[in-house]
Symmetry: C2
Subunit: 155 residues, 2 copies
DNA sequence: ACTTGACCTTCCCACCGTGGTAAGGTTGAG
DNA sequence: CTCAACCTTACCACGGTGGGAAGGTCAAGT
């Protein structure tokens, strides 16, 4: 009897299932993240062997790859939840998907603009800094809120 | 005697000190963050009234503004630690400051490039998606890893 | 002198997404 | 039968920030 149970994983493998490690290797999502996504309800609870090992069929691994790709494109967990829902809904309108994607593009644009703003300012400051042995430094002056003068220290 | 101690904050105020709320208002750093930065050792422990209230003189508030500005430019706490050190070191070489800033610019560039890569891909996908009532959707196809065909769902 | 509300203090918990690690059970091959 | 490589759950951490509870203090109005 314990012998029989002990074979369960081998049985599953013969039936085309992967354990979490193989599913991870096949999808690019780490085992850790797979469990985490499951705990969030992003993935439905995996099937288990009697020993409690999670097992994944090829369709499950496909879902994992979908999630991975979506993360690579910067979608948040919540956005991925929506995308997964649309993917698995045959009656979806592509307009819905497009809306999610466009909203995400807008988010990306905002972040990019933010970073570029920082970049522009820093570039300016670096440009005006001699970058030599002397202590005078427009970068510190700016951070210190000096309108334009020599790097004053507090106190 | 307890009366005398109770006056300590008023004394400090007369002497030009601010409590944490005023320091926050004057620097743009929230009281929460001020305490957090102090706990990290980014700021040296604030002076206290006998009642335990933190008090800040104008130079301290100046430091807070410096930190705020640096955060606004995307510097990490650790980078700010370095910048503060340089700011307060009269023997610094501006080259040191410039190096920190340039390293940060490189980090920003990397993040920007990453986000722009996502943006480009998404833009492409959105461009090819009809965005109508029909379920066919190149965006989902891409996420699902379909080389180029109709949006296939798993199972 | 007393109440009241706005402040302060410390402490812990949450987020997001990921990584680590510890303590224990399973598996599969030598 | 042993041993390494896996699996399981359960915690803690990061960077920064926000929220809130429980308690103390301050200043102003009555």
């Amino acid at each position: 009897m314990p012998r029989l149970l002990a074979l369960e994983l081998a049985d599953a493998r013969r039936a085309g299932y992967s354990n979490i490690g193989e599913a991870a290797a096949g999808s690019g999502v780490t085992p850790k993240m797979i469990r985490y996504y499951e705990s969030l309800g992003l993935l439905k609870p995996a099937k288990r062997t009697t020993a409690g090992y999670r097992i994944y069929d090829p369709a499950d691994v496909h879902v994992l790859r979908f999630v991975r790709r979506a993360r690579d494109l910067g979608f948040s967990i919540d956005e991925i939840r929506q995308l997964l829902g649309l993917w698995q809904n045959r009656r979806r309108a592509s307009a819905e998907v497009r809306k999610v994607a466009q909203r995400h593009i807008a988010e990306l644009d905002q972040k990019i603009e933010e970073l570029q703003g920082m970049r522009r300012t820093l570039e300016q400051l670096v440009h005006h800094c001699h970058g030599d042995e002397r202590p005078e430094c427009p970068i510190l002056d700016d951070l210190a809120g000096v309108g334009g003068g020599s790097s004053e220290e507090p106190q």
